[in-house]
């Protein structure tokens, strides 16, 4: 009977500003607002052929499909972030029809209300610290010119090299920790994410800190400036800022932020 399913991007409070007319969601359909019980579910219709259980299972294994869907999902949530404080749902939250979405809203009404109150007017900033990749060996072909005279020489050289590397690591970690402390002071809350795999992120260097900070919009400018100022502080270390994101990392159950920077060391 129904030709499509309902994909839900986010839940928010009613807002006055209309969404951009050209905004498109997953599969190219324009998102719509479903008002119910003083809340708004942002939904769009997706083809059943792509989002029934079997199809979805297969699609999720397809990196290109997954990337396109993730970007479309994020695109809608991002558009909402410019006009209100959305509560982003996890990718591929799909219902049969509008009435099923309404039932879900009723069932979760209290949770939504509490989370929306807590996050109102706040955004998430992502901060990552990278240890820049090793520059090409400083001495060109040392093997030919300075061949180790003995096994002991060789071992000593190896030890020096690994010592230098270890030193850089410690320096990067110290920097990450101090940066995190300064940022956490300006933020209401934070989350530590596992360091990113450079193969997936396609970003050079080794990710030593991958954190998310919850910051009121009103203080965002200062926060961004603070991050910007640290960018030239340490040679060989790169600081990357992303955002403002909807408060994805703070939409889970209240578990409290881990108090340490431990998870930043991903070796």
């Amino acid at each position: 009977m129904t030709t499509g399913l309902r994909y839900v991007y986010a839940v928010c409070r009613p807002f006055g500003t209309p969404l951009q007319a050209e905004l498109r969601g997953v599969g190219g359909a324009p998102p719509a607002l479903l008002h119910h019980h003083g809340l708004v579910a942002v939904v769009s219709t997706v083809p059943e052929a792509d989002f029934c259980e079997e199809a979805l299972k297969a699609h999720l294994e397809d990196l290109d499909w997954l990337a396109a869907t993730a970007r479309a999902h994020q695109g809608v949530v991002d558009a909402l972030t410019t006009v209100t404080t959305p509560l982003p749902l996890r990718l591929a939250t799909v219902f049969r029809d509008d009435s099923a979405v309404r039932m879900m809203i009723e069932a979760r009404e209290e949770d939504f209300g509490r989370l929306l109150d807590r996050l109102h007017g706040r955004v998430e900033w992502g901060v990552k610290v990278y240890l820049e990749p090793e520059p090409e060996p400083a001495e060109p072909e040392p093997a030919a010119t300075a061949r180790p005279a003995s096994g002991r020489d060789y071992l000593r050289r190896r030890r020096q090299q690994s010592h230098a590397q270890e030193e850089k690591w410690q320096q990067a970690e110290r920097f990450a920790r101090s940066l995190h402390e300064r940022l956490a002071e300006r933020a209401e809350n934070f989350r530590m994410h596992p360091p990113q795999n450079s193969a997936l992120s396609k970003v050079p260097g080794r990710n030593v800190l991958n954190a998310a900070y919850l910051v009121p919009r009103a203080h965002s400018e200062e926060f961004v400036e603070l991050v910007d100022r640290t960018k030239d502080e340490a040679p060989g270390i790169r600081v990357e800022l992303t955002g403002p994101w909807a408060a994805y990392s703070f939409s889970g159950e209240e578990s409290g932020a881990e108090p340490s920077v431990e998870s930043g060391e991903g070796r």
């Binding site: 839900v8 972030t81 992502g126 997936l200």
Partner: protein
């Protein structure tokens, strides 16, 4: 229309946010609600692990010039085909040699 100007401009999103940034959030974060279409969340977590492994192993390995699996018959179908072709040719050759031998011997045995 005027409200968005109060909001900070997107800083790194779109251009700066990489796919890992986005997947990290839309797959692993956000409110979890069981929809009508059941997708096992474990699948999604496994998927991210799997993706990391796939991307890490194949791309990375190729990047580093490692392609041994392409010539290993146990891992590559093409290598397997090549192996079969080679074996086939070898067998044909041996058969031809045996037939020749047989032919050479035949006149003697016939009388």
């Amino acid at each position: 229309m005027t409200t968005p100007s109060r909001f900070p401009e997107p800083y790194g999103q779109g251009s700066g946010a990489n796919l890992a940034d986005i997947l990290e959030r839309v797959l692993d974060k956000g409110v979890v609600i069981a929809g009508d279409i059941r997708i096992n969340l474990l699948d999604i977590e496994l998927l991210t692990v799997k993706l990391r492994l796939i991307v890490a192993s194949v791309d990375k390995a190729k990047e580093m010039g490692i392609d041994w699996w392409e010539s290993d018959p146990a891992l590559s179908s093409r290598a397997r085909r090549d192996e079969l072709t080679r074996e086939n040719a070898e067998l044909r050759e041996r058969l031809a040699r045996l037939e020749e031998l047989e032919l050479g011997r035949a006149p003697k045995e016939a009388p």
